[in-house]
C-alpha cells in the first residue's frame, strides 16, 4: 500500500547541503502497524514528513495506494493528505476554537462532506476511543491523553489508507500513552487502518508488527514482531528491540547488520539516552514509581530494561 523507494532528502543551510535521508526503501502493507525508531537526527521525522507530503524531497519515489506522490501539484497533494492519510502529532495540533467533536470532523469539513455518515462516524469514533463524554468540550479543557485520542479519532474520520503518527506518546504520561496505543490497535482491528508511527518509545513500538531502525539516514535494520499473541509476544519484542537499539548505537557509522543476530537482552541496559528503553511502567495504567534499576516484579531476561508490563 505504501512503497518508499530510494528516498533522498537533504536540507540546505546557506550554501551547504546536509543529506538527511540517503536512499530509504521500505513498504507498509494494508492493516499493518509499522514503527520507525532511531536516534535523534537519524531522519525519522523527515521521513514521516516526506510521506505526509509536508516537505518536498529530491530523489526517490513514494507510492501510496498506487499513486505516485512525487510531481503532484499543491492541490493534488492536499487531496492526498485529506483523503488517503490521517495524522497524529506529538503536540496534538487540535484547533483551540473547536470542540472535540468538531475537531474530529475537520478533515471532513475540508473535504466538504459533512453528511450523516460523517456525523455517525464521528460519534462512533468518540465512543470507540472513550471520549464521547468530552465531545462538547474544548481542547484546552481536556487531558493530554484525551486530546491525543481526539487526534487519533480525527485521523480516522476520512477512512484513510494510512495513519501517520509522529511521536504520538511523546507528550503523554504512561496511562495516556497506553490509551493512545490501544486506540491505534482498535483503529486497526475495527476500522482496518494501517499505521506508520515514528517513536522513541520502545514500549509503544513493541505493539507494532514491524519496526524499522533508522540510523544516519539509512535503514539500519528491520525487526519483525514474530508470532505469538498478547503481552508475552509484546514483551519479547520489546527485548529484541532494545537489543537491536543497543547494537545500533554501538555500531560504527555506515555499519549495517549482517548474518544472524541475537537481540536477546540479558545484560545491563546500554541503550543510548536518546532512545527511551522503556523507562515507564505501563502496568495497566498504574505507574510504578520505583526507579529503573530496582526490579519491579519477577526478574525475567531483560526485565531490568523492559519493565513489567503485566
Amino acid at each position: 500500500m505504501l512503497y518508499v523507494k530510494n528516498l533522498h532528502k537533504s536540507y540546505q543551510s546557506g550554501s551547504k547541503s546536509y543529506p538527511v535521508l540517503k536512499g530509504i526503501n521500505f513498504s507498509v502493507a494494508k492493516q499493518e502497524f509499522v514503527a520507525v525508531m532511531g536516534p535523534s537526527g537519524s531522519g525519522k521525522s523527515t521521513l514521516l514528513n516526506c510521506i505526509s507530503c509536508y516537505i518536498p524531497f529530491e530523489q526517490g519515489t513514494i507510492t501510496l495506494g498506487g499513486q505516485e506522490l512525487k510531481g503532484l501539484d499543491e492541490n493534488a497533494l492536499a487531496k492526498v493528505r485529506n483523503e488517503k492519510l490521517g495524522f497524529v502529532f506529538q503536540d496534538f495540533m487540535l484547533l483551540d476554537g473547536l470542540s472535540v467533536r468538531e475537531n474530529i470532523l475537520v478533515p471532513r469539513i475540508i473535504q466538504g462532506k459533512v453528511d450523516q455518515d460523517a456525523e455517525k462516524l464521528a460519534d462512533k469514533l468518540l465512543s470507540l476511543f472513550g471520549i464521547d463524554h468530552i465531545a462538547g468540550k474544548y481542547p484546552a479543557d481536556v487531558s493530554g491523553g484525551e486530546r491525543q485520542r481526539t487526534a487519533v479519532a480525527r485521523s480516522l474520520i476520512n477512512r484513510p489508507l494510512l495513519i501517520l503518527a509522529d511521536e504520538p506518546t511523546g507528550n503523554l504520561d504512561s496511562k495516556s500513552s497506553r490509551a493512545v496505543i490501544e486506540s491505534f490497535e482498535n483503529a486497526r482491528a475495527k476500522l482496518g487502518a494501517s499505521i506508520f508511527m515514528v517513536t522513541h518509545d520502545s514500549y509503544a513500538a513493541s505493539f507494532c508488527d514491524r519496526v524499522i531502525l533508522l540510523k544516519d539516514g539509512v535503514v539500519y535494520d528491520t525487526l519483525e514482531a514474530g508470532h505469538g499473541r498478547g503481552e508475552e509476544r509484546q514483551a519479547a519484542f520489546q527485548d529484541r528491540l532494545l537489543g537491536a537499539i543497543r547494537e545500533m548505537s554501538s555500531a560504527s557509522p555506515g555499519d549495517n547488520p549482517s548474518g544472524s543476530r541475537n537481540y536477546d537482552n540479558n545484560t545491563e541496559s546500554n541503550a543510548p539516552a536518546h532512545i527511551d528503553p522503556g523507562s515507564r511502567n505501563y502496568n495497566g495504567g498504574t505507574e510504578n514509581k520505583a526507579p529503573a534499576h530496582i526490579g519491579a516484579g519477577t526478574e525475567t531476561p531483560g526485565s531490568a530494561e523492559r519493565r513489567d508490563t503485566k
Binding site: 502529532f89 495540533m93 475540508i110 480525527r154
Partner: protein, 709 residues
C-alpha cells in the same frame, strides 16, 4: 459548521486576542500618521512655517522618521499576527486544505481587519488632533493664528499608508500559504529568531559609528560645497546613514550582551537575557524604532526651550525698553507724542535718544548659481542694502565711543561674534543709491553691541565718510533709530498702544519683510531680471495682522519692545511651539505604544517559560526580576540612547553653528536637561505600568513578593 468558510469564521472568533492586538497596532499607526499629516499639511501650520525654512525641514524630517517607525511597527504587527495564525493554517493544511483554498478566507480576514483598523485610525486621527490642538489653545496659549484649519489633501498620505497596510498584510497572507514546507508553517509560532552574535566590539563600535555618522552628515554638505563649488543634492543626507547602523549595532549589543558586566553575577537575569536573544531580530528592530521615535520626540520638544530661553535671555538683557527705527519720509511719533501717549497710561519715558542713519548699497562677494547645481563666487557691485550709522550716532545710541578709520566700516555684532552670517564683510565700495556716488571702503572689524546685532544688519562709518556718502540722499534712503526707557514700570497696554500707533504711522511702501532689498531689486531690474521679492515666493507682511509670527519676526521696521516681546512670545510663536510639542507628543506616544506592545509580545510568546519557572519553584520575586529584565531594556535602552544621542546632536549643532556656545544656548540646553528628566519620569511610569500589567497577565502576586521580601 459544515463548510470551510464556516470553520474559518469560527476559528476567527477564537483568534480575537491576536486580532485585537493587530487592530490596535494598525489603528495607532494610522491615527498617528493621519494626525501628523493633517497637522503638517494644515494651512495653519504651512502659513507660519516658512517654505524652505529650518523649522519646516525639521518638521518634515521628524515626520519621515515617524512614518518609518509606523511602517516598521505595522510590519511587526502583521508578522506577529501571522506567526500566531500559522499554527491554525498549518494544521488545516496538514489535514488536507490546500493553500489555494485557504487563501481567500485568509485574505478576507486580514483585509477586513486591516481595512477596519486603518479606517478607524484615519477617522480617529482628526478628532485626536482637534482635541489635542484645542487643548493647547485652552490650557497653554491661543492666538488668531492658532485656529486650526485642515486641508483634507493630507488624506492622500493616510490613504497611501492604508494601501501599504492592506497590501502588506495580504502579501504576508499569500507568502504564508505559498510555502511548501507545512511543518515550517505549523511551527512558525515557536520559531526563534536568534541574532548572530557579533562580538563584544559591536556596542562600542556602534557608538563610534553613531557619532561619526552624525559628524559626517553634518560636515558633508559644507565640505561638498567647498570641494566642488556646487550645492549638494538631498541625497547627501544619506551620509547620516551610519547613525542608523550605529544605533542598530548598539541595540544588537544590548540584546546579545547587555551593558552591565556579568563577571560578578554571571547568572543574573540569565533567563530574561536568553529570551531576548532568541527573539533577537524582532527585539532589535523594535528597540531601533523606539529609539528613532524617542529621538524625534526629543528633537521636537527641544525646539521649544531652544527658541524661548535664548529669546527670553536676549529680551531681558536689552539696555532699552523700546527701540524703533523708521525712514525719514514717514511721519512717526516723536519724543513728545510718545511721552503724551505714555501719560495717558500714567507712565513717563526717560533716556530718549535718537540718531540718524542712511541706507546705502554695498558691493561684495557672494555665491552665484551657474548651470545645474554648481556655483562660483563673484563680486557683485550692488549686492545689498545696509544701514550705516556715523560714529556719533553709534555713540548716542550705545553710549560707547567708537573710532572708525576713514575709508573703512565696522559691522555691529553681538559680543560673542556669533550669528554674523548676515553681515557683509567683503565690501569694497559703498554706493549712494540716489546720486550713485561711491565710497571705497574696507572691513575694519566688529563693533560689539548686542542690542543692534540682528538680521537687519547695522554698520558704522567714519563721521566724515558718512557725511560725504550721505550727501544727496532722499528721505526714503535715510532714517532714524530711537530708543527710550520707561520711568518706573512699564505697562502692556501702553506698549500695545505704542506698537499700533507706530504701525499706523507707516505708509504702505514700508509694508515689507526685512529681507526685501531695494538695492538687489534695482540691480536685478537693471539686468532685466525679476527680483524674487516681487514674486509670490516672498513672505507677505500685512499691517492688518500685527500679531502674527510673520509680522513680528520679519517686518522690516519691527520695533523691539521688551514688555510686548516678553508677554506675547508664546502667542506669537504659538504655532511653532505647539507644532513641535505636538510632534513630541505623537512620537513619544508611538514609542511608548511600541515598547508596551513589545513587552506584551515577549510575555505572550514566553508564557510557558514563566509557567515552567513557577513549577520549578521560582518565587514571585524571582519572576518579577525576570520580567523586569525583559521590560527594562525595552524601555530603558531606546530612551537612554534616543535622549542622549539627540542631546549630543543638539549640542553639536549649536556649537558647529558658530564655533561656540552662547549664553542663550547654554541656558536652553540646561532647560532641555530638565525636560529630559521629566520625559524619563513619564517613561518610567509607563514602564512601571507595563511591568504591573505583565505580572497580572502571568498571575504573579506582586504583594506576595513584597511580603516574601
Amino acid at each position: 459548521m459544515t463548510t470551510l468558510k464556516s470553520l474559518e469564521k469560527q476559528l476567527q472568533k477564537t483568534d480575537r486576542k491576536q486580532a485585537v492586538l493587530y487592530l490596535f497596532c494598525n489603528f495607532i499607526s494610522l491615527l498617528l500618521i493621519t494626525a501628523y499629516s493633517a497637522m503638517m499639511f494644515s494651512p495653519t501650520v504651512l502659513e507660519v512655517f516658512p517654505e524652505g525654512g529650518d523649522s519646516r525641514k525639521q518638521m518634515v524630517a521628524i515626520f519621515v522618521l515617524a512614518l518609518f517607525g509606523c511602517v516598521v511597527f505595522t510590519i511587526y504587527a502583521s508578522n506577529l499576527f501571522f506567526r500566531k495564525k500559522a499554527k491554525q493554517l498549518g494544521t488545516l493544511m496538514a489535514l488536507g486544505a490546500s493553500g489555494r483554498r485557504l487563501l481567500p478566507g485568509l485574505i478576507r480576514e486580514v483585509f477586513t481587519l486591516s481595512a477596519v483598523s486603518s479606517f478607524a485610525g484615519i477617522l480617529a486621527g482628526f478628532p485626536f488632533i482637534l482635541i489635542l490642538w484645542n487643548s493647547f489653545r485652552l490650557f497653554l496659549t491661543d492666538s488668531t493664528q492658532m485656529i486650526l484649519t485642515i486641508d483634507f489633501r493630507c488624506l492622500y498620505l493616510s490613504a497611501a499608508f492604508f494601501v501599504i497596510v492592506i497590501g502588506f498584510s495580504c502579501l504576508n497572507a499569500y507568502r504564508c500559504l505559498k510555502r511548501t514546507n507545512i511543518m515550517e508553517i505549523m511551527h512558525e509560532e515557536h520559531r526563534n529568531e536568534p541574532v548572530k552574535e557579533p562580538g563584544t566590539w559591536c556596542g562600542p563600535a556602534g557608538i563610534l559609528l553613531l557619532l561619526a555618522g552624525a559628524a559626517l552628515g553634518y560636515i558633508a554638505p559644507a565640505a561638498y560645497m567647498k570641494l566642488f563649488s556646487a550645492y549638494p543634492t538631498a541625497w547627501i543626507n544619506l551620509l547620516y546613514a551610519p547613525v542608523f547602523v550605529g544605533l542598530y549595532m548598539i541595540m544588537l549589543h544590548t540584546v546579545v550582551y547587555g551593558w552591565r558586566s556579568r563577571k560578578k553575577h554571571p547568572y543574573k537575569n540569565l533567563i530574561a537575557r536568553s529570551m531576548m536573544k532568541f527573539q533577537g531580530k524582532q527585539t532589535v528592530n523594535n528597540l531601533l524604532v523606539s529609539t528613532v521615535l524617542i529621538g524625534g520626540s526629543v528633537f521636537g520638544i527641544f525646539y521649544i526651550p531652544m527658541l524661548s530661553v535664548g529669546q527670553a535671555m536676549e529680551v531681558n538683557a536689552r539696555p532699552y525698553d523700546y527701540f524703533y527705527h523708521y525712514r525719514t519720509d514717514q511721519s512717526i511719533p516723536g519724543k513728545e507724542e510718545i511721552a503724551a501717549l505714555a501719560a495717558k497710561y500714567s507712565l513717563a519715558i526717560r533716556d530718549f535718544n535718537n540718531a540718524p542713519y542712511v541706507s546705502l548699497a554695498m558691493d561684495g562677494i557672494t555665491e552665484v548659481e551657474d548651470e545645474g547645481r554648481s556655483f562660483h563666487y563673484e563680486r557683485i557691485p550692488l549686492l545689498n542694502e545696509a544701514k550705516f550709522f556715523p560714529e556719533s550716532s553709534y555713540e548716542t545710541l550705545t553710549g560707547e565711543k567708537i573710532s572708525v578709520e576713514k575709508g573703512s566700516y565696522m559691522a555691529i555684532s553681538n559680543t560673542d561674534e556669533t550669528n554674523t552670517y548676515f553681515l557683509n564683510l567683503t565690501a569694497s565700495t559703498l554706493t549712494n543709491m540716489v546720486t550713485f556716488q561711491t565710497l571705497p571702503v574696507s572691513f575694519a572689524g566688529y563693533a560689539h553691541y548686542d542690542f543692534l546685532a540682528d538680521t537687519r544688519g547695522y554698520y558704522v562709518l567714519n563721521n566724515e565718510d558718512y557725511e560725504t556718502i550721505a550727501a544727496g540722499l532722499t528721505p526714503d534712503w535715510t532714517g532714524t533709530a530711537a530708543v527710550f526707557n520707561m520711568e518706573g514700570g512699564d505697562s502692556y497696554e501702553f506698549a500695545r498702544d505704542f506698537f499700533c500707533t507706530l504701525i499706523s504711522s507707516f505708509g504702505p511702501e514700508c509694508e515689507m519683510p526685512s529681507y526685501y532689498d531695494r538695492v538687489e531689486k534695482y540691480y536685478k531690474n537693471q539686468k532685466g531680471e525679476v527680483y524674487w521679492g516681487d514674486t509670490p515666493d516672498m513672505t507677505r507682511i500685512s499691517f492688518s495682522e500685527p500679531d502674527t509670527s510673520e509680522f513680528r519676526s520679519f517686518w522690516k521696521y519691527m520695533p523691539k519692545i521688551r514688555i510686548l516681546d516678553q508677554t506675547d512670545f508664546t502667542r506669537t510663536f504659538s504655532v511653532f511651539l505647539m507644532m513641535f510639542l505636538f510632534i513630541a507628543i505623537i512620537c513619544s506616544l508611538a514609542a511608548m505604544v511600541i515598547s508596551y506592545t513589545r513587552c506584551m509580545t515577549i510575555l505572550l510568546n514566553n508564557r510557558y517559560v514563566f509557567d515552567d519557572l513557577k513549577r520549578l519553584g521560582a518565587s514571585p520575586g524571582f519572576l518579577i526580576q525576570e520580567i523586569r529584565g525583559q521590560a527594562g531594556p525595552v524601555f530603558l535602552i531606546p530612551a537612554a540612547v534616543g535622549m542622549s544621542a539627540m542631546y549630543l546632536l543638539y549640542l553639536l549643532l549649536m556649537y558647529a553653528n558658530d564655533g561656540k556656545l552662547t549664553a542663550g544656548e547654554i541656558g536652553g540646553m540646561a532647560v532641555c536637561l530638565l525636560i529630559l528628566a521629566a520625559i524619563a519620569g513619564i517613561y518610567f511610569l509607563v514602564y512601571r505600568y507595563t511591568v504591573k500589567n505583565m505580572c497580572r497577565q502571568l498571575d504573579i502576586d506582586r504583594k506576595q513578593k513584597r511580603r516574601s521580601l
